[in-house]
């Protein structure tokens, strides 16, 4: 299903409830009434095309944003990505950690294996935090500076240097390890963690891990499909101009 602006928001959510947190990142909260996407976006001063692109990327993993979708100001993109990061770090990761903590405190056999699992989760958490920190302190400011350089016609020293030493194509390679760790977490839990007393708790942790994985994958797709091509185009434009 392609999500379009004439659709009722409530209808979209009936189709795919996983979109609720993503819609929320745009400041559009539940209680959609019978309003269409267009009406709600206007009410909340949200760019409709951008909103639809993000929703469609999340909803349909085959969806490929069209060329004109790369026309959004990067500031808009970056501010969305940062909101998503905040959700991961402040809500989703701590929630999973709490659940793992409950699993350990309720287990009456040897806890050491579960503590190892928690330890591994912490390692993953740290790696994700570092990755996000680097994006927010190195990559995003660079991207915003590039856009400004294009608009003003003047690129400052630092931006030029980063463009030459660490272009955007470089940073994309770094997603991989974080994804692998999350995958290992799931596999360890499904295949190798000894049975716990509370199956429901285990199931909830796993459900959260799957949900987080899906979110992060789509998040990475937004970066790969929208942010990176856009930045690459800007890098080329600036290089051509400098010649």
């Amino acid at each position: 299903m392609l999500i379009e602006k004439e659709m009722l928001m409530a209808e979209v959510v009936y189709h795919d409830h996983n979109l609720i947190p993503i819609i929320g990142r745009f400041g559009i909260r539940m209680g959609y009434d019978d309003e269409s996407i267009e009406e709600l976006c206007n009410k909340h001063r949200v760019n409709i095309d951008f909103f639809l692109t993000i929703l469609n990327v999340f909803h349909d993993s085959e969806y490929f944003p069209q060329k004109q979708m790369q026309m959004f100001p990067v500031g808009m993109l970056v501010s969305y990505l940062k909101k998503a990061h905040k959700d991961y770090l402040e809500d989703e990761i701590p929630e999973i950690k709490n659940l793992i903590g409950s699993m350990i405190s309720e287990c009456h056999i040897d806890k050491s294996t579960y503590l190892l699992f928690l330890n591994f989760f912490d390692e993953y958490k740290l790696e994700l935090e570092n990755h996000i920190y680097r994006e927010e302190t190195k990559v995003y400011p660079y991207v915003v500076a590039l856009e400004k350089a294009l608009q003003t016609g003047k690129a400052d020293e630092a931006t030029m240097q980063q463009m030459n030493t660490y272009p955007i194509a470089e940073y994309e390679r770094e997603h991989e390890n974080v994804e692998e760790k999350l995958n290992d977490l799931k596999n360890l839990m499904i295949k190798y963690l000894p049975t716990v007393d509370d199956d429901r708790l285990c199931f909830r942790i796993l459900r959260e891990l799957f949900a987080l994985e899906k979110e992060l994958n789509e998040h990475a797709r937004i970066e790969d499909l929208i942010l990176v091509p856009k930045v690459m185009a800007m890098e080329i434009a600036i290089k051509n101009r400098e010649k």
Binding site: T113, L116, F117, F120, E123, D184, Y192
Partner: protein
């Protein structure tokens, strides 16, 4: 790989023998070679013929003379007494090591591991990694590079890489830290005491 440790159990109760057999099957490099009820003729000969590394014996299932004989045979064979919870000191004192009938699983495993010097549960329960792959995994977890592992095992670096690929494929775990958790969970390596 070291030869499996051979264990013999002597107890008159079927359930106890079956329980110990089950417990032993979960230990790595351990084989329960024979169980006896304790009233067999020429019991000591039969037991010794098995060349056991460990004999678990219930003193009530057999004669006092047999227990004394066991304790004197050969320093290579360890003898554990399986005694009741309220057993008298005079009985317990016959053994270097005892286990109790109401011991829980982890207590029993601890004793067996200590006595047999094995490192842990039977990974074969998980059933998938070959012995060689386990050896390689242990080195990987300890932070050895492919080159170093190849040198240690007198194998080519290519072989080591193949082993690593197979480990990852079989376990579905890609990262070294994930493999470490797996190895620790399965007691393939132990955390050194601080």
């Amino acid at each position: 790989m070291a030869r499996a440790k051979r264990v013999v159990v002597i107890d008159h109760r079927f359930l106890i023998r079956a329980g110990l057999e089950n417990l032993m099957s979960e230990l790595r490099e351990v084989e329960l070679v024979k169980t006896f009820e304790g009233n067999e003729t020429r019991l000591s000969e039969k037991v010794l013929a098995k060349k056991p590394d460990l004999v678990i014996v219930n003193p009530h299932a057999t004669s006092q003379g047999f227990v004394n004989l066991l304790n004197n045979i050969d320093s290579e064979t360890f003898v554990i007494g399986l005694v009741s919870n309220d057993a008298d000191v005079s009985i317990i004192s016959h053994f270097r090591q005892t286990i109790f009938q109401n011991s829980n699983k982890s207590e029993l495993q601890k004793v067996f591991r200590k006595v047999l010097g094995t490192t842990g549960e039977n990974h074969k329960k998980n059933g998938i990694l070959s012995d060689r792959e386990i050896t390689v995994l242990k080195y990987v977890v300890k932070g050895y590079t492919n080159r170093q592992i190849a040198d240690e095992l007198f194998l080519s670096i290519h072989t080591i890489m193949t082993h690593r690929k197979n480990i990852i494929r079989k376990l579905g775990i890609n990262t070294v830290s994930g493999l470490t958790v797996y190895a620790l969970m399965n007691k393939l390596v132990i955390i050194p005491k601080q």
